[in-house]
């Protein structure tokens, strides 16, 4: 399974989201690759992704996608990530 963590410039915030998404997936015992990317790359990187994780601010920038787009409010809250990933993937 492929999950994309999206931020505006592809460093910093998306990397934090990636690290904490991997922690959430480990807790859920789900195997997945999490890739950090930026707005410019999301169509290319995300075309075969099941899930795109991002901030509400960036949802419109994703464009057309078949992936489930999950909006994360607190990037440091692994419990929020676990709950939202479980709903999307369960």
């Amino acid at each position: 399974m492929k999950i994309v963590a999206l931020c505006g410039v592809g460093i910093g915030t998306s990397a934090i989201l990636k690290v904490n998404a991997e922690r959430a997936l480990a807790r859920l015992e789900i195997e997945a690759d999490v890739t950090a990317t930026d707005v410019a790359g999301v169509q290319k990187v995300g075309f075969d992704a099941q899930v795109i994780l991002t901030s509400s601010e960036l949802v419109d920038a994703i464009g057309k996608t078949n992936a489930d787009v999950i909006v994360i409010e607190n990037y440091f809250d692994v419990d929020e990530l676990v709950a939202k990933l479980e709903t999307a993937l369960g």
Partner: protein, 153 residues
């Protein structure tokens, strides 16, 4: 892996700003003072928010100001600014912001360990309000689990 040492120049406590631009500028000023970046990088951090919105407010009360690597980044760096009065960035859930981190990296890959450690520190939800309330640089360093650089000891 702990975060790298945090110079006093990279910390600013109780800064007065009018708006989010002032808050990001303060984080950029601290990166410039500590020798990590030049002023162009500060302008680019503001430009990221102008372009993409307030997504850099990644947790309640906390903004992670950053831009892409570039020639205006001399060394990887982190700065910590706390605001005297919190300001709104325009985020639907996490406003107002009272702590701004400035992050500068020289390549897209090398920052991963630094960011993973930041995630470790901030997985504790008490850290953001404690940083906002801290009154001296040693308290800030203790909350982040970092030391001062050797030349300051």
């Amino acid at each position: 892996m702990p975060l790298p040492p945090l110079p006093t120049d990279a910390i600013a406590i109780g800064v007065h700003v009018d708006d989010w631009r002032g808050a990001v500028s303060a984080a950029g000023d601290a990166l410039e003072r500590s020798g990590s970046t030049s002023h162009e990088y500060t302008k680019r951090m503001i430009g990221v928010i102008d372009e993409f919105g307030a997504y850099v407010v990644i947790a309640p009360g906390l903004a992670l100001a950053h831009a892409r690597p570039g020639p205006d980044v001399h060394t990887e760096g982190l700065s910590v600014v706390t605001l005297a009065e919190p300001v709104a960035f325009g985020h639907p859930h996490n406003d107002p912001v009272s702590v701004v981190l400035g992050l500068a990296v020289t390549s897209g890959d090398e920052h991963v360990l630094l960011v993973a450690e930041l995630a470790n520190v901030f997985n504790d939800p008490h850290v953001i309000p404690a940083l906002a309330a801290a009154s001296d640089v040693d308290s800030i360093r203790a909350l982040l689990g970092v030391t001062a650089p050797a030349e300051e000891l």
